[in-house]
Symmetry: C2
């Protein structure tokens, strides 16, 4: 069965779609929980599935370093390795080469760097990244790109973007023909919208199955990110998925869906869940705060998840005070369930052509 995308309906710029894969349907707009090292941190696969998540993201860079490709390829790929049967998207490693590795040296050929774990010297090229992702047997694969740090030096960003475009072409060649996998191109160009437009056009010439916006949500004000998304996403082909990488807060998701984005991933609900932060329909709360010792209500009864409904804030506050693992599990579980509840209601509102109403009703509270 080959992978396909269909645009179901549009409500102004907001889009309702389906990515149909042999491992299940991904209803878009979709949020992908992050499973960096082949586990959504603190959750079993059953718990992830119970949140309504239909796809997760894993990291090529992390898995390449640990446990290495061989141990995953040997069992037939990531799905079997981690006992997860739904679609998986793998990031190419480009972002981690920039953000995590040491002594990184970029050449035309690829990136040489020292592992952030043991300092070991590593080389990744577009060909190596795509080869790894194919061996991981991911359903959606990302091109290997250079992710420059935030810069106002246009020449630097343009050079980097052009290198990423040449790497995108090499990624496509290495990807070859794969009817049951998607390969996505990544639009770079930093804060320069003209560069991003050129980048998108050149990527479309190479022709990918979907297009991602990279290098956003890296600390710029939200309105700047929205501006960039707004200008670029409407230029993306309508019949292919649009993915805003590494984003974001519930407010970011609402604002980006409004501007035509279909897919998101972010460590926020998982990472903050481990520190005590809960996302709710009333906004964020930190369950470590002493006030919750006196609060016997559940985190958010409106979210259809055992962690959201069956455990009191009082209890979870106690678990965090005792550094109990269950605290991280329950709050991660709830946060992802909340994100999926948000996405589900976003999709519902688009299907009823009421997205703007839904946006107006929730944006301010959720964007706090």
């Amino acid at each position: 069965m080959s992978i396909s995308f269909s645009l179901v309906s549009e409500d102004s710029n907001a889009r309702l779609g389906k990515i149909i894969t042999k491992r299940g349907i991904i209803n878009t707009p979709a949020f992908m929980p992050v499973g960096t090292a082949a586990t959504v941190k603190a959750l079993t696969v059953d718990q992830v599935n119970q949140t309504g998540s239909e796809v997760i993201l894993c990291n090529t860079y992390h898995l390449f370093l640990r446990p290495g490709v061989e141990r995953i390829e040997r069992v037939g790929g990531l799905h079997k390795f981690m006992n997860y049967n739904k679609p998986i998207l793998t990031d190419s490693g480009g972002f981690q080469v920039m953000s995590l590795s040491k002594n990184t040296k970029i050449t035309e050929e690829g990136a040489t760097f020292n592992s952030h774990i043991d300092g070991k010297k590593i080389f990744i090229s577009p060909e190596i990244s795509i080869d790894i992702q194919k061996k991981l047997n991911a359903d959606i694969i990302m091109v290997f790109d250079e992710c420059p740090e935030y810069s106002k030096d246009k020449k630097r960003i343009e050079d980097s973007m052009n290198l990423s475009l040449r790497w995108a072409k090499r990624s496509k060649d290495e990807f070859g023909l794969n009817k049951d996998k998607y390969l996505f191109g990544i639009v770079q160009g930093g804060i320069f919208k003209d560069l991003r437009k050129i980048c998108l056009m050149e990527l479309q010439d190479i022709d990918f199955n979907g297009y991602a916006l990279g290098g956003l949500a890296v600390g710029e004000p939200q309105y700047e990110m929205f501006e960039t998304v707004e200008e670029i996403s409407v230029l993306m082909p309508k019949n292919k998925p649009r993915y805003l990488m590494g984003t974001g807060t519930p407010g970011d998701l609402l604002g980006a869906v409004k501007r035509g984005i279909d897919m998101f991933d972010c460590v926020l609900p998982t990472r903050t869940g481990r520190t005590g932060l809960a996302f709710t329909w009333d906004g964020k709360i930190n369950l470590r705060n002493a006030q919750y010792a006196k609060d016997d209500s559940p985190i958010d009864i409106r979210v259809n998840c055992p962690a959201s409904q069956l455990y009191s804030k009082n209890y979870i506050n106690h678990l965090f005070n005792c550094n109990e693992i269950l605290a991280s599990t329950l709050l991660t579980w709830h946060n992802i369930a909340f994100y999926q509840d948000l996405m589900s209601k976003i999709r519902q509102s688009i299907s009823e052509f009421k997205f703007q109403e839904f946006f107006n009703q929730h944006f301010e509270r959720l964007n706090n």
Copy 2:
């Protein structure tokens, strides 16, 4: 509905029984997972229930210190606080006063000590311990006893035992009439069997709903523990549950069931699960060992638990290498499921009058 015990059948000294409570039946011999701070570490309540556990143990000392009784009593007790609907046994705190607290001073009245968490000065008497346990709303409550450290000084042990007996009487008085709760006495007496026999007789004069052996499994050789269990358990009333506290390894459980014990608790399957140790029907294995990177088989297919059957040793080894929380969850889950599988098969063998055969078949391998 009042709580009751019925002895279903006997196979030599091994016993099959049922503790019937308003929250469910505890089939004995039973293993109680430890939920020190109102959570079986690293597991949700659903996961605990899936292992076949029918009762858990929580700690009065820990809960008294953190979160304090008020936050639990306010919601109606431990079951509601931690969202666990099956029976709960609470330890009285006597053992933790000895093993965890600082500057402990024992008087006739009770134990004064400094909290191991924040150094705060705390006083616990038999009356306070039983009052807390009633407020926690535990189904089975333990008398507050003095737990002397291992000693060959018979006078010291005898004095301590006599103090514990006076405390046992005060515990009984404070317990009062509770048709839906059990109060268990604890046999002390250290390594001196004559003292233990006296202690048991005196406890029987006070009259408890069940009798526990305390102060064993504290580092003595296994055969010594078995000898003590053998001499004392057969003197315990047949129509009441017999509980060997803080034990043990799978081999300990087999040997103690053979000598007439009905109930066990131990941190071993949970604590070791967090460090990489798995109990299996073939004996113990440490999944941190590099050899398991090459082993794509599940931990133990014979144990009916997702953690035992659906994840490979290769994967779990990877999770431990990355310090992933899921490693602790999966291995704790498997270990408790293995313990419950062992208890279930022990009960089955007793019901078929084949316990000795079962013992002979498994003791050596499981006692490694």
